[in-house]
Symmetry: C2
């Protein structure tokens, strides 16, 4: 019998607390600024958008925040998630590297997004909120929040980017199955949406526009709050259950990662896996290389600028110091919808700026080739987003094949592609395109960045 | 903290053998007959279609057949599968019943079908077969065989019922992602297909026609064999890993089922869960009620006749003694494609005839209502097929609510609905229909049954 393939924790080993990396960093991350005053925002500034508990978590200096029982009870529907050694992929690649993936596709909606959707819905419900609004692209986040809202009796309204709303109806059906209401964005329901439609009646939308719409609706309704699926500190913190479990599971496997690889869109999947390992590294424990992988078509970490910018298109959010391509940047319609964001988590941006994480970019054809290779070997068809991380794993495993190095690689397989299969059909038919982004395009988009403050 | 939700076995607890219920039955099941001679078929009759190892398993009197290491290694990509107590559904229903579901949707293709696809591909590859042919309806089985074929380097050609091929493209893409070739059935590639197209050029196909095409292609190619996803003894035997695991997991939970409920199309999901429990029952162990649930639109067990009939439309298969609606019966296009089969596993039919299993039927609207209730409580959106079993669980749980009985219910959640979401959209929009099948329709279809033999 071959060696062990899957490393599972018991339900009783579910982490009992989230990890906040902020107090462990050598330098604190720059604060978000009020777009009017350019002063650091206060909890009161955020009160129309988020419940008190999440505002506190956003700014907390505590290293750990306890996971409420009510959240843990829902987590246990699918957590702890498995850590799997990709033995069949290793064999297929002929590599001496040992490749492990932490698989979050076992969640009800097929991705890691439920790890933060559940606590966000819980805290809102606990503070008497009746309705959550949010945006979604391809729909991973919207369906996670729809599921979580159903668990705590909240209404949920989702603004879905028009292009995805039309082309990927399965996610919309999933959200409706969980009881949510879905609007195509830009919509006629908000000022932000109407403004876009007035300029471009056939707009296919963007995440930035959809965020503006969802924020506007929440801000104008005292019974409603807004929920964000990535970027913010509390979101990344909720995702650290991934890394805490993976730490314990790598110990079960008797291996220590030499390299940790994750894809980055807003940064929550990456931060979720990496931060607990980074805690150990900063404390003098094992010293893995840590690598973020982003799409060549939306290269905020590798080609963007680290500066203050808005999180949305209309400029309704606070100013966030982050790696950005400019909030007016509209990436090509690549299939990894979850990575098509002009900015990056401010916390992760800061950590990259501190030199604790390196970044690379990969074109999407290479990602889908890696995704197919992975699927045929391991069974799971990876979502377009984590296929970026897998492409980097394949690159590294082939380097090890040539060098003979027995490197231990750990990656986050943050979701499956069952609702993204048309993207694979496009790849298999040979119709998938990759375009080299010119410096001029990026320079033009960067013109939308407001003058830096602080 | 609430009680335990998920009961997991370790990878090392994976069953090492499949269970064959045949020698434990009070009476042996009637043999398949050669359609020409009406004599029991011989291994030689089956040799053009199946590898020797599977032909032996089809007729074996051994109670147990060892699971080869190569098969176990692939099983370990997702097995042992979890047993989950549906605590949130129980609460939502206000029932004192305790409901457990054995969840097979964690497999690479999202259903139990891989449990038999993997050994079938393995034995074929081991005997030097180069190509597997099969049929599929909605695509669960075809995608399972495509996945399994990729594991053992086999080519795989799938005839998919035209209606599904056109309406449910995601499954086709999944099969192609795993490297299989997919044909719409009826096709111009086979005599059986051409004959149907000559009569009805715009035929949307049926499982019976697709079986005829796949069988014909395998029979005419010495390098090819045919694979069937349900109905046959060896298929049901491979699925008993479900029930063996569930027995151990119910013991972990400290509960004993009073009622076991599963959906039945060809019978493999049901047999897989139930047979190990039935072994214990026949040996004087716990005595659960065991209930098969079928769609009201395709009621082979509740309104069909127990007699010899063909397994396919063209009459190419052996004659099987089974509950059948007549091999010419074309069920209404309900969404549970996996349950739209005119016949039933001969082994399970025999067990029903012996009075060891009871059967009920449920209309599809009730199934989708139960599916949505389940999804909002438990997160998993159930495939249309197991939503039939869930509808019966809900009926029973509500009876318990009224009576106060703390009945322990175990059901097989054999797959998720992520690739069947348009069916949920139809339900949510109020457009789902249910038609009462008339006795005349059934009588007419039954006229296709050949005169009984033996």
């Amino acid at each position: 019998m071959a060696g062990r393939t899957t490393f599972r924790l018991d339900e009783s080993d579910l982490p009992t607390r989230w990890y906040n990396i902020v107090p462990d960093l050598p330098k604190p991350p720059p604060p978000p600024l009020h777009p009017g005053t350019r002063e650091p925002i206060t909890p009161d500034d955020l009160a129309p958008l988020f419940p008190r508990a999440l505002i506190e978590q956003e700014a907390t200096q505590d290293r750990y925040v306890p996971i409420p029982d009510e959240v843990a009870e829902v987590y246990r529907l699918w957590r702890p998630s498995p850590l799997i050694r990709a033995r069949r992929l290793e064999r297929e690649l002929g590599t001496p590297a040992r490749i492990y993936y932490k698989y979050e596709g076992v969640s009800p909606v097929g991705s890691h997004k439920t790890n933060t959707a559940v606590p966000q819905a819980y805290y809102n419900a606990a503070e008497g909120v009746g309705l959550l609004t949010t945006e979604t692209g391809a729909g991973q986040w919207g369906s996670a929040l729809a599921f979580a809202s159903a668990q705590f009796g909240l209404d949920c309204e989702v603004w879905q980017v028009r292009a995805s709303y039309d082309q990927k109806p399965y996610r919309k059906i999933m959200m409706e199955t969980f009881g949510a209401t879905v609007h195509a964005s830009p919509s006629e329901l908000t000022e932000s949406g109407r403004a876009v439609l007035a300029r471009t009646p056939d707009s296919t939308g963007s995440l930035g526009i959809a965020i503006s719409e969802a924020v506007e609706m929440a801000a104008g309704n005292p019974n409603a709050r807004y929920a964000l699926g990535s970027v913010l500190n509390h979101v990344l913190m909720h995702q650290t259950v991934i890394g805490e479990e993976a730490l314990a599971q790598m110990a079960m496997a008797g291996d220590t990662p030499d390299l940790i690889v994750g894809c980055t869109g807003g940064g929550s999947n990456f931060g979720g896996l990496v931060f607990p390992f980074l805690r150990e590294k900063l404390a003098g424990g094992p010293q893995p290389e840590i690598r973020a992988v982003e799409p060549a078509a939306c290269p905020s970490l590798t080609r963007g600028v680290y500066t203050y910018d808005f999180g949305d298109t209309a400029g309704l959010t606070p100013l966030l110091k982050m790696h950005t391509l400019g909030h007016a940047f509209i990436p090509d319609p690549i299939h990894a919808g979850g990575l098509r964001y002009h900015g990056m988590s401010p916390l992760l941006s800061h950590i990259v700026d501190l030199g604790l994480v390196e970044a690379v970019s990969v074109p999407q054809n290479e990602c889908f080739a890696a995704g197919i290779r992975f699927a045929r070997a391991e069974g799971v068809i990876p979502a377009p987003e984590p296929s970026h991380a897998l492409a980097e794993c394949v690159r590294e495993a082939l380097r090890c094949r040539d060098s003979g190095e027995e490197k231990v690689i750990l990656t986050a397989l943050c979701g499956h592609a069952l609702l993204d299969l048309p993207a694979y059909a496009t790849y298999l038919s040979g119709d998938m395109t990759d375009r080299l982004l010119s410096d001029d395009e990026i320079r033009l988009a960067m013109a939308s960045v407001p003058e830096a403050a602080g």
